[in-house]
């Protein structure tokens, strides 16, 4: 099967000589058709540049980009059957909501009546039926987000690109939109490529995700794979929170001399265990309490569900865990 989007050692460098910024550095990537793909990474990691390479707003310095098997290096953005939901939504302030949504159809030359009918249908799909006559300035942030979504989807793109679309929304709305986006993607069957720096968002929505770091992909996989088996310290730390154990400590726990990762929720306090240390502090999180233990040079966090007894700060305690939860990574 051809991939919806394929990167073949794609690079995008800015500047020349010693000042060159390698925003995207020899990235290989295959995004399966019909999947919800997330690009996750801190700011400046190259994920947004990758998205702009797909939409055509950036051109690769090297490498080839294929969309459904076709090389798009010579194709400008307006001729790519790909649409973007912009981070700031980029709605046209001088047009009504209906005209915003119908814009893509208008520039393709569709007559007014059918394009307005189709725009209204799309507005209905994003639960904004009846808002067509308003101006974008009269809508809330969440509503603008939906208009931007409808405006991109009305063109029936083969790939929908979303650039941190939920970043400006408050927590409740963001969670509601996450569910809606996911449901919409399932229903339409369009490939979604979603850029975010929020690991919860990426884990909960994506079918597969790529973790970006410094212009390169640190790891690609399903959310469960990446959470359970991070390949590097960066991934372990960025996706979820993790205790990173140096090679020496891994060895005392029976592993090879490599870095390993232990998730805080897999740790228990016990009478005896492989790790012992002094309790430094508690941090109350509501559903659980995070207990920080100093074991030698390493600080280890354990997550204790609410209602369970907590070791007092200053006490010496042992930490136990099921051996299969110790994940050994590739780094020495």
């Amino acid at each position: 099967m051809t991939a919806a989007v394929e990167f073949q050692s794609v690079s995008r460098h800015f500047g020349h000589g010693p000042d060159t910024v390698k925003a995207v550095d020899a990235v290989d990537l295959r995004i399966a058709e019909g999947s919800f793909f997330a690009m996750l990474g801190p700011s400046g990691s190259g994920k947004t540049t990758c998205l702009r390479l797909i939409s055509g707003f950036e051109q690769p310095t090297a490498g080839a980009i294929r969309i459904f098997g076709q090389d798009v290096s010579a194709i400008p953005p307006n001729r790519r059957n790909v649409n973007t939901v912009f981070q700031d939504y980029a709605l046209f302030p001088h047009m009504s909501v209906r005209d915003n949504v119908a814009y893509g159809l208008m520039v393709k030359g569709m007559a007014r009546a059918p394009r307005h009918a189709k725009a209204d249908e799309m507005l209905h799909l994003v639960q904004l039926g009846g808002y067509g006559d308003r101006k974008p300035s009269q809508l809330s942030g969440g509503q603008r987000q939906r208009v931007a979504l409808a405006r991109a989807l009305v063109n029936e793109p083969r790939v929908l690109l979303l650039d941190e679309p939920l970043g400006a929304l408050d927590l409740k709305l963001r969670e509601a939109m996450q569910d809606e986006l996911k449901a919409l993607q399932k229903r339409l069957g369009i490939t979604f490529v979603f850029v975010t720096h929020d690991q919860n968002e990426a884990l909960s929505m994506a079918d597969s995700l790529a973790v970006f770091n410094q212009g390169r992909i640190a790891q690609i996989g399903t959310p469960a794979e990446i959470y359970a088996k991070p390949r590097t310290r960066f991934v372990a730390d960025f996706v979820g929170s993790s205790n990173l154990l140096p090679p020496a400590l891994t060895q005392t726990l029976g592993g090879p001399a490599k870095w390993s990762s232990l998730r805080p929720e897999h740790l228990m306090f016990a009478e005896s265990g492989p790790i012992t240390g002094t309790v430094l502090a508690h941090r109350y999180l509501g559903a659980a309490t995070r207990v920080i233990v100093k074991a030698g040079e390493t600080e280890i966090a354990a997550l204790v569900p609410s209602g369970q007894p907590l070791p007092e700060p200053g006490r010496t305690t042992a930490i136990a865990f099921a051996p299969h939860h110790l994940h050994v990574m590739e780094e020495n």
Partner: protein
């Protein structure tokens, strides 16, 4: 050490700050009174006094102003000869505005979209520099440039393109003996003198259009031309209108350029200048100055109806 919850007062400045904090309206009133006095009384007052004069008329025998309300002066204004003056000025002002807008757009677009750092400084300097020298000096300089013995005639002779210049000058109405005595020359000087007033508001308007808006248009399938027509132009329109108000009204009121460059045909500004000076017909001069004001009001109403200010 314990410290008081309230810091000590340090004199008059603190007392004034406290006073204005309690009475913000007093502060606003103090701030606004001088400019309102100037704008309201001195400026608008004298403007209305002038316009009032246009409803008086002049006694044809004594040459004195009769302070009685009449529309006689206005009927005089629309005599064919005066109507020609108004029409000529209107056409010139429209042409200058259009020419300035077309020339200014690429410059403003470059400055708003691409110029950064040093290039931005070069842009502002380049646009403002002509404003630093005297208006009269610039106009006389242009007269020399456009003259029959000037550099343009010389350059066309050198490049064997005198034919083009002569063809241009042999055009009916806008042509003439030389560029400096033709409407073409006057148009060039007007555009040169007023173009900074078109570029600056245009650039400010274009700067406010986010880059993502242009990308969104392209992303949705628009060509460059479609993006320009449906997104850039409508969003830049308030700036273009603001700039055109400057170029249009400045051209309408100018009385120096038509005197120095051109075929000495009369323009509104020149008519006002002559009527209030040598002719001493203040009422007719006042009636003439009503014309640009009315035209501007009509223009702004039309612009508003066309939705030029919707994006403000």
């Amino acid at each position: 050490m314990t410290s008081s919850a309230i810091l000590p007062e340090r004199g008059l400045a603190d007392r004034l700050t406290a006073f204005f904090w309690r009475r913000p309206r007093v502060f606003l009133a103090l701030l606004l009174t001088p400019p309102l006095l100037w704008l309201g009384l001195v400026y608008l007052g004298s403007l209305f006094a002038l316009l009032w004069q246009s409803f008086y008329s002049i006694d044809e025998f004594t040459g004195m102003v009769k302070p009685e309300f009449t529309l006689k002066t206005y009927s005089e204004l629309f005599r064919p000869a005066n109507f020609d003056v108004i029409f000529r000025t209107l056409v010139m002002a429209s042409a200058v505005t259009l020419g300035a807008a077309i020339l200014a757009f690429p410059i403003a677009y470059f400055a708003a979209r691409f110029a950064r750092g040093r290039w931005k400084a070069v842009f502002y300097l380049g646009v403002m520099l002509p404003l630093w020298s005297s208006y009269l000096v610039k106009v006389y300089a242009w007269k020399l440039i456009l003259a029959k013995e000037g550099i343009i005639t010389w350059a066309t002779g050198l490049t064997h393109s005198s034919g083009i210049l002569n063809a241009l000058l042999s055009l009916p109405v806008i042509g003439g003996n030389s560029l400096s005595t033709s409407y073409i020359g006057m148009f060039l000087v007007f555009v040169y003198v007023w173009i900074p007033y078109m570029i600056l508001p245009m650039q400010a308007a274009l700067e406010r259009v986010p880059a993502s808006m242009l990308e969104a248009a392209q992303d949705l399938g628009a060509t460059r031309a479609q993006t320009f027509r449906t997104v850039i132009l409508p969003l830049a329109l308030p700036g273009i209108i603001a700039g055109s108000i400057f170029t249009f009204s400045l051209t309408m009121g100018d009385y120096i350029i038509p005197q120095i460059v051109g075929n000495s045909a009369n323009f509104i500004g020149m008519a006002v200048y002559q009527l209030q000076g040598t002719a001493g017909n203040i009422p007719l001069a006042a009636a003439f100055s009503m014309v640009p004001i009315l035209i501007m009001l009509v223009y702004l109403t039309l612009a508003k109806r066309a939705g030029a200010f919707d994006a403000l």
